[in-house]
Amino acid sequence: MSQCIVVTSGKGGVGKTTTSANLAVALARMGQKVVCVDADIGLRNLDVVLGLENRIVYDLVNVIEGECRLKQALIKDKRLPNLSLLPAAQTRDKNAVTPDDMKRLVEDMKRDFDWVIIDCPAGIEQGFKNSIAGADRAIVVTTPEVSAIRDADRIVGLIEAHELPEPELILNRYRPGMVHRGDMMSKDDILEILAIPLIGLIPDHEDIITSTNRGMPVAFDDESAVGAAYRRIARRLMGEQIAVPDFTDNASFWNVFKRWMGIKGAQEVIG
């Protein structure tokens, strides 16, 4: 059965687009047919994170207005033929799309894909309502900051009000060293407040920045510990029971030192 997942957060800049791109890549690398939809109309971004910005001809609004067929607007990733992108319109009014339009579009895509991943815009207005309209399941992304968690809490309530199942949490930009020193809320602190299941823990990591610079999501990188964390989230989405490691210990002096020395068995394990 195909599934549509919306990746949302309330607050902007917490990692929805990064998460959407990486989960799409990770699922596609597992042989799943995946389409990733940029629902941020007017502020297109997912194309750049996926490195597909040079291939856009049509967009989501063109499809909804009947100016082209869905197949014409989908961009197939040449690195990973299982993965397609439906880009957002860059210069259209975001009210050009309604929740009913999105529902129909998602139903269409579910016929051809195993996974439809919707990258939701920030906020709780039209763009959010459109993004959740066709979703079967929601992932809430937050960072370990007061404002982000407050918005996440609000979003969890809205998702439940829309009769979606309980959302799952991705905690992004986690800094175990700071948690260790007591300068950042821990995973457990945050879970206690939000009270939804954790599906992934992603550290604040420079691999995200370099991979985004290149338009090559880190989930493609077999050497990256962050890439591995995204691939584990994909397996959890597929129903595998894999515990989310508590990697606070990774940041302890001895572990950092052992990794620095390149000692085997001291690889970073995260999320």
Binding site: V48, E53, N54, R55, I56, V57, Q90, T91, E206, I209, T210, S211, T212, N213, R214, G215, E223, V256, R259, W260, G262
Partner: protein
């Protein structure tokens, strides 16, 4: 420290910043005129077709790009080298 790990893992370090800059420049010009790269390719193909109805162009030597001028905005700069017709006997 991360550099050391990277070197140990044999991964290239650095220079993704430059990739980012190049990609961004292209992106901003196309955004400014609301013409995505793939659509520009379509326009190019159409223009070449029209020109080819009148003269023979050397397709391999064609250049076609957007040029961003500091004060005058974006210009489409193209060079379509025309093949000389063989001298008639």
């Amino acid at each position: 420290m991360n550099d050391l790990i990277r070197r140990l893992l044999g991964r290239p370090a650095g220079k993704s910043g430059n990739d980012a800059k190049q990609r961004l420049k292209v992106l901003l010009v196309h955004d400014e005129i609301d013409l995505p790269p793939a659509k520009m390719e379509m326009m190019k193909a159409e223009i070449l077709q029209v020109v080819a109805r009148y003269v023979t162009i050397d397709e391999d030597a064609v250049t076609f790009r957007l040029h961003k001028d500091d004060n005058r905005g974006v210009a489409l700069v193209s060079n379509l080298p025309v093949r000389r017709v063989a001298a008639r006997a």
